[in-house]
Symmetry: C2
Subunit: 196 residues, 2 copies
């Protein structure tokens, strides 16, 4: 992993996540290896008590190098934007030094997330320049433990496809969902919108 991290990175990762990311020197050639890595991030975020049960990472698609990681940091940063995907995307942009991870003449990038993006993270994906997304658990799995995932367009996968972003769902879904259930069993904080 590129260890350069700008001091301007909007979301400060916990030390364990920085250390874990810096220690990844292997390439992540299979989809499953990338997904299991972000599920481990989600799980460690729960066991370390540093945030909600969600992990994400950005990989460079030419060599499948890890570029940046993210975990849910809503409570620690006091910022409701700090979902795992938003943290990973922002840190990846700081690492490469560009707001567009899909800029011409640069390697393409993939976002891997332990749970399907919520309405905000879905909306953030096209602006980030990401070219593909791998999802573990479904939004319904997060909603089953009480999180509100927001209202995305029903055809959100097709909407991303129309913007040249491919989405793969249900990768290691059982393992990803187990982290959500573990969080629930530990009595972790669940937050979301207020209802009518």
């Amino acid at each position: 992993m590129t260890t350069r991290r700008s001091s301007a990175s909007p979301f400060q990762l916990p030390q364990w996540a920085i250390r874990l990311a810096r220690s990844q020197h292997s390439l992540f050639l299979s989809k499953e290896s990338r997904m299991r890595f972000v599920i481990a991030l989600a799980s460690t975020n729960v066991t370390r008590g540093t945030g909600g049960p969600f992990g994400a990472a950005v990989f460079e698609r030419t060599g499948w190098r890890l570029i940046a990681v993210g975990v849910n940091l809503v409570e620690s940063t006091r910022c409701s934007h700090a979902h795992a995907e938003m943290v990973a995307l922002a840190n990846a942009q700081q690492t490469v030094g560009r707001f567009d991870l899909g800029a011409a003449n640069f390697p393409a990038h993939e976002l891997v997330t332990s749970c399907e993006p919520c309405a905000m993270c879905y909306g953030a994906i096209p602006w980030s320049g990401i070219r593909s997304v791998l999802c573990g658990a479904r939004a319904s799995d997060a909603e089953a433990i009480g999180f509100d995932e927001g209202a995305k367009p029903k055809n959100w996968v097709a909407e991303l496809k129309s913007r040249r972003i491919t989405v793969t769902r249900d990768l290691c879904r059982k393992e990803a969902t187990a982290v959500l259930q573990e969080y629930q069993q530990r009595g972790g904080a669940v937050y979301g919108a207020r209802w009518g």
Copy 2:
């Protein structure tokens, strides 16, 4: 305005915006006064060359005090999340010291934005705790100068209402749209998704 700003604020505002925000000692009792303030933020962001033609602010609804401001900072922060609404919401959360601007036993808050929220900012609103949103220009006005606003659910206003968030649109729309047109005439950078 409360001048306390945490050093942990994820998006660093330009100095002119910090100074402008700190100099607002009056209350913003009318919707139009709040909207004209964010249109001025958008316009100044263009004339100062500090970002795109979008401004936003968060007001506390009991006394209509200004809590935090935001302008588009995508290029300067190298972060595609840094839309005016996201910046204003994050800075408001840092100012009050909570990720939930709608927490029980605290004053309610309003987001005012010079242009209707894009898909990402729409998705961020329920998580922020905001209870009402005022919009100036329409998404179609931003799209008319080349910005992609993303795909929100067609019934996005009703979706927010179901989460107890009211939306008022088309407030000072002409004045808000004029800033977009000024930006286009100056040849400002327009970015968004990749298509087809």
